[in-house]
Symmetry: C2
Subunit: 196 residues, 2 copies
DNA sequence: GTTAAAAACTAACCAATATTAGTTAATGTT
DNA sequence: AACATTAACTAATATTGGTTAGTTTTTAAC
C-alpha cells in the first residue's frame, strides 16, 4: 500500500503527532517514544516510516518555510499596489497560521534544531522573505502611503504580531478568520488610538 | 566567603552563562557541562553552587516574572490616566528587555520547562499581568481614548510586539532605547498608515 | 493458498546527561 | 601551625533517548 491513500497515510499521522508534541514539549523535549505512543505503536517501529527524528522536524519546518517563500514571491511580483500587497501578506500569514498552526509554531520557534545544512537553507528562506516584505514597505513609504519610520523597525513590529498569531489561535479557538483579519489590519494599519 | 562580593559572585556568573545557553540552545538543549565550561569548571562542580539544573531556570524565569508583576501592579494602582498607564507599560517592557534580554527571552519561551508547581505559579503571575493590562485597556476604551475593538485581541496585538522585543535587541545591537520607545509607541498607538 | 512486501514488535546498543559520592586543593580564621 | 569551610576534581550511577538488528505479524497481489 503506497501512500496513495493521501491524507491519512501513516507518515502523515506521525507528522501530525510529532508536530503537536514538538510544539508543546519542544523538539528536544519530545521523545520518539512519546510520538509513537500517540500514533499507536512502539518507538522503534517509527523507523519503518521515517529516517530520523530530525527528518520529522525538517519536513515540518522546511515545507512551511518553502510554502511561505513561494507565496510571498507571488505577492511581491504581482502588479498590485503597495498597500494591497501589504494587505495580502497579512492575509497570507493568517491563512497559513489558521490552516496549520502547529507547523507555523514549529517553524518559528524550533528551526534552531535543524541540522546545519538545512538550518542554513532555512535562514536563507527567512531572510529572503523578510527582504521582500521590506521592499514592499519601502515602496509604500516611498509612495507616501505609510508613515515615515525606520523600515527595519516597522517590519519588526508587523512581523512580531503576525508571527505570534498561532499562540492566539491556540488560546481562543473559535475565532472566525475574517474577524481576525479585520482586527489585525485595523490594528497594524491604524493603531489603537481613536482619531482626534 | 559569603556572597558579600555581590555582582560577580560565582553563582551570578553561573546564572549569566546559563541564561545565555538556555536562550540559544533551549533549556533541554543546553547541558550542565556546557554551562560549566563557559564559567570555567567541570560539570559536577556546579553542584557546589546550585541545587539542580531546574533551579537555574527557576531563578532566571521567576525573578523576572515577579519583577514584572510587581511593576505592573504599581502602574495599575497609580493615579495616572489610562493613556499614561499604557505608555508606562510599554516603557516597562522596553526597560526590562534592554536591561536583561536573556532573562526576558527565557521567561517568555522556556517557562514550559519549569517544574509543575512553579509552572503553576508562573502562569498565575502571567495571567495576573495580562489581566491588569487588559483592565487598563478597557478603561481607556471606556473613556473613549482608544478605538473600539475586542479587548483580548488588542491586548494580544500589543503584547505580541512587546514580547518580541528581545529578538529585535539581539539582531540590531546599537539601537538607542529612546528611539525604540518612540517607534514602538507610534506604531502601536497610531499604526503605520499616514493620515489621509 | 502461497508468496512477497510492509509494518509492527522485542531486545539491545550506545551516547549523552543529570546527579551523587568521595576526594583533594585552596582559603581563611583562630 | 591547625583546623574548618569552600569549591574544585574524578569516578561512578541511573536514566533517558535515538537508533539498529532481527523477528513476527499483517496486508496485498497473484
Amino acid at each position: 500500500m503506497k501512500p496513495t491513500d493521501g491524507l491519512t497515510s501513516r507518515k502523515q499521522q506521525i507528522l501530525e503527532q510529532a508536530a503537536k508534541l514538538f510544539r508543546t514539549r519542544g523538539f528536544k523535549g519530545a521523545s520518539l517514544r512519546q510520538i509513537a505512543e500517540k500514533v499507536g505503536m512502539e518507538g522503534p517501529s517509527l523507523y519503518n516510516h521515517i529516517k530520523s527524528k530530525h527528518e520529522l522536524l525538517s519536513i515540518l519546518v522546511m515545507n512551511n518555510a518553502r510554502e511561505f517563500n513561494h507565496r510571498i514571491n507571488e505577492i511581491h511580483a504581482s502588479s498590485l499596489s503597495s498597500l494591497d500587497k501589504i494587505d495580502r501578506v497579512i492575509s497570507l500569514h493568517i491563512e497559513l497560521t489558521v490552516v496549520n498552526p502547529d507547523a507555523m509554531s514549529l517553524m518559528l520557534s524550533e528551526w534552531t534544531h535543524l541540522e546545519a545544512d538545512e538550518r542554513l537553507e532555512y535562514v536563507k528562506l527567512r531572510d529572503s522573505y523578510e527582504n521582500q516584505f521590506k521592499e514592499i514597505l519601502e515602496q509604500a513609504m516611498f509612495e507616501g502611503d505609510v508613515v515615515q519610520m525606520d523600515v527595519n523597525f516597522m517590519l519588526f513590529m508587523i512581523l512580531s504580531t503576525l508571527r505570534s498569531l498561532y499562540a492566539w489561535c491556540a488560546r481562543y479557538k473559535n475565532y472566525n478568520r475574517l474577524e481576525m483579519e479585520a482586527y489585525l489590519k485595523q490594528g497594524i494599519l491604524k493603531g489603537i488610538l481613536k482619531k482626534a
